[in-house]
Amino acid sequence: MSTHTPRGPVLDTTVAPAAARIVEALRPELLLTQEHHMCPGCGEPLALRGFLDTLSEMGVAQRSIAVAGIGCYTSFSGTMDVDLVQALHGRAPSVATGVKRMKPDAVVFTLQGDGDMVNEGLQEVLHTAARGEQVTCILLNNGVFGETGGHMTATSVIGQRTKNSLDGRDAEYHGYPILIGDLVSRLEGAAYVARGSVHNAGAVARTKKMFRRAFETQVERRGFSFVEVLTMCPTGWFVPTADGPGYMNDTLGEVHIMGELKVDGVVRTTDELRIENEHRQHEIEAALARGGLDT
């Protein structure tokens, strides 16, 4: 047996370096590991943190059940410390219905992508909303099938280039994107409907409030709740990682406008949200022209 003399400084590998400890300290309580298989710049983990932290903060974590659809986010099913039922592509809202009817005190939510919810299982989310099912459906909308490598979905916006719309989505040839939040908000059974985004810190914070309102709606048994979150998919959009948020803001974000589409029975359409946003933009510009914004 030979003795081994280490060369260079000896690193203590039994404790994490300082930087890693900071990251670990920020790990959501309901995450089993920080390892993940998502692409750099993917928006889905940001949305994940948003709803996991909300469940923890509301104190309902120990009675929450997730129902996952099929997409890139399906890999969260193994890393979320939440009891989970895996559904088939598109079928999560029905599965969530069965779960909730048997466990009425649980906080039951689906995790679906646009391919899952708006393509494969559109009728599921609409019927579940119309039934006023006391569940929350979460849609991670990036306007593309990320997992298959970047193909057009029912929410891809006009002009969006995908692997099966190479010259961009053409309305005449491919039809128009579905604004799913507007469909859901019109249904009597839907109590809370919102569309958030994770393309910047402000949007992340706003979206987290939407999760909170949605889960509160469910806990108070006020009806079906729905949160759509626009998430970056630089891989499926074929843009550089760092360009993801900007690209999203300029493309999907221009069509799937962020805001609350239904609160306390009052519906606001995506068009109304757009007009409101433009109004606010004009006001800001006018104020700036006057010499500054007063708080």
């Binding site: 309580e29 309901l30 089993l32 590991t33 390892e35 923890s56 974590a61 120990q62 009675r63 929450s64 059940i65 129902v67 399906t74 890999s75 099913s77 193994g78 890393t79 979320m80 410390d81 939440v82 009891d83 989970l84 039922v85 895996q86 559904a87 088939l88 079928r91 809202p93 029905s94 599965v95 969530a96 219905t97 069965g98 779960v99 909730k100 009817r101 048997m102 466990k103 649980a106 906080v107 039951v108 009728q123 599921e124 019927h127």
Partner: protein, 387 residues
């Protein structure tokens, strides 16, 4: 409509659908979701009426796809749950049926079939991948009450879907009966089920058809999962159930299942009384199929006939069982009522007796009264090919 028969207070007259539903409730079924379709519709109606009274939930699903999804969710929480339809509706559910098997969810599925043309669907499945479902085929309502309860037990025992194969007759025939709760051996608690209480504990669970598990827990991988599921198949094959009659000296053996089996058995009894050596094999489980019983029955016989109301589906399994020991003849046929929902002219003891006797005496199968006038024109090139 139910009515208590005078003097027989313990027995109630009820149609098959209601009996199957009451048997489900006796077995502890807590959830049902379905979509109406003849002749399954009454099963849904009775669940909708009776399940809430019994503390359960019945949802009028907006589609078959959603019905099976809802039952999937209910099962994942550890409750007993079922769905159903006709074969047509079950066609829509096939993706779920195959994946439910991988998720090891103990679903009970009712097929109130339009005839017996769903044998392949039931025993081979229309879904993808390697999977098997136990299929129970009652011959009448009384046996249905027993087999439905067995279905819930076997589903939990094997964590595998179990299908109850009925038809128009089973669903609509009224019988006076008592729904007795059957006792089965105790099964372990469903520690695999999820109810939300383990969330946030570091030990949360998942119910999934995929080969993944929670981080830090042993994981199958897709291949390992499929291999593991396959190991259950030979074990479930031991659940085979079969009824036989008059086989000892039988020269002709008829294989038959479901409601038509009762007609076949009656016809054979008549033929026996006339001195004809004919016996029968009635698979009660269509999967696992009683191959060994059919093999033994064929060993001493001169010929084997398969009677089923289809173009000939179970006959494939009969041939596998017989294994060339005797010629196998298909003596059934497609036979429904005009709507396609119910049974046709072939379900008639006289007609069946004539067919069995023709086979037994090596004569050509007789034309069925009422079917002789049908002419089906093949296209000229097909006629050419037929020559």
């Amino acid at each position: 409509m139910t009515a208590t028969l005078p003097g027989r207070a313990e027995r109630t007259l009820m149609e098959g659908s209601e009996a199957l539903v009451r048997a489900s409730i006796a077995a502890g079924c807590k959830f049902f979701a379905g979509y109406p379709m003849t002749p399954f519709t009454e099963v849904l109606e009775h669940f909708a009426r009776l399940l809430p009274e019994a503390g359960g939930t019945c949802i009028n699903a907006e589609s078959e796809l959603e019905a099976v999804g809802m039952a999937w969710g209910a099962l994942a929480t550890g409750e007993r749950a079922a769905t159903g339809s006709t074969g047509q509706g079950l066609s829509l559910m096939q993706e779920s049926f195959s994946e439910l098997t991988l998720a090891e969810l103990p679903m009970v599925v009712f097929n109130m079939a339009r005839g017996q043309q769903d044998y392949f669907q039931a025993t081979r499945g229309g879904g993808h991948g390697d999977y098997r479902h136990i299929v129970l085929a009652p011959q009448d309502v009384r046996e249905g009450v027993e087999l439905v309860q067995l279905a819930f037990f076997l589903a939990d025992k094997w964590r595998n879907p179990v299908l109850v194969y009925g038809d128009y007759l089973l669903a609509h025939t009224q019988e006076a009966l008592t729904i007795e709760t059957l006792q089965f051996p105790e099964l372990p608690p469903k520690s695999w089920a999820v109810d939300g209480t383990k969330s946030g504990s570091g030990l949360s669970g998942s119910v999934t058809p995929l080969g993944v598990s929670k981080h830090g827990q042993p994981s199958f991988g897709q291949e390992g999962k499929a291999q593991y599921i396959a190991t259950k198949t030979p074990l479930m094959e031991r659940e085979v159930r079969v009824e036989t009659g008059f086989l000892d000296d039988a020269e002709t053996v008829i294989v038959t299942f479901g409601s038509p089996a009762k007609f076949v058995k009656y016809a054979i009894k008549q033929l026996r009384a006339d001195g004809h050596r004919i016996g029968y094999v009635r698979p009660i489980t269509l999967w696992p199929f009683p191959y060994d019983t059919v093999r033994d029955a064929a060993a001493g016989a001169r010929r084997v006939g398969s009677f089923e109301l289809s173009a000939g589906q179970m006959v494939d399994d009969v041939r596998i069982g017989v294994s060339g020991q005797a010629p196998v003849t298909f003596i059934g046929g497609v036979s429904t009522d005009h709507s396609g929902f119910g049974m046709g002219r072939m379900l008639d003891v006289d007609v069946i007796r004539d067919r069995i006797l023709a086979l037994h005496t090596d004569r050509e199968l007789p034309v069925i009264p009422g079917y002789e006038e049908f002419t089906y024109a093949l296209a000229p090139h097909q006629q050419e090919a037929a020559r």
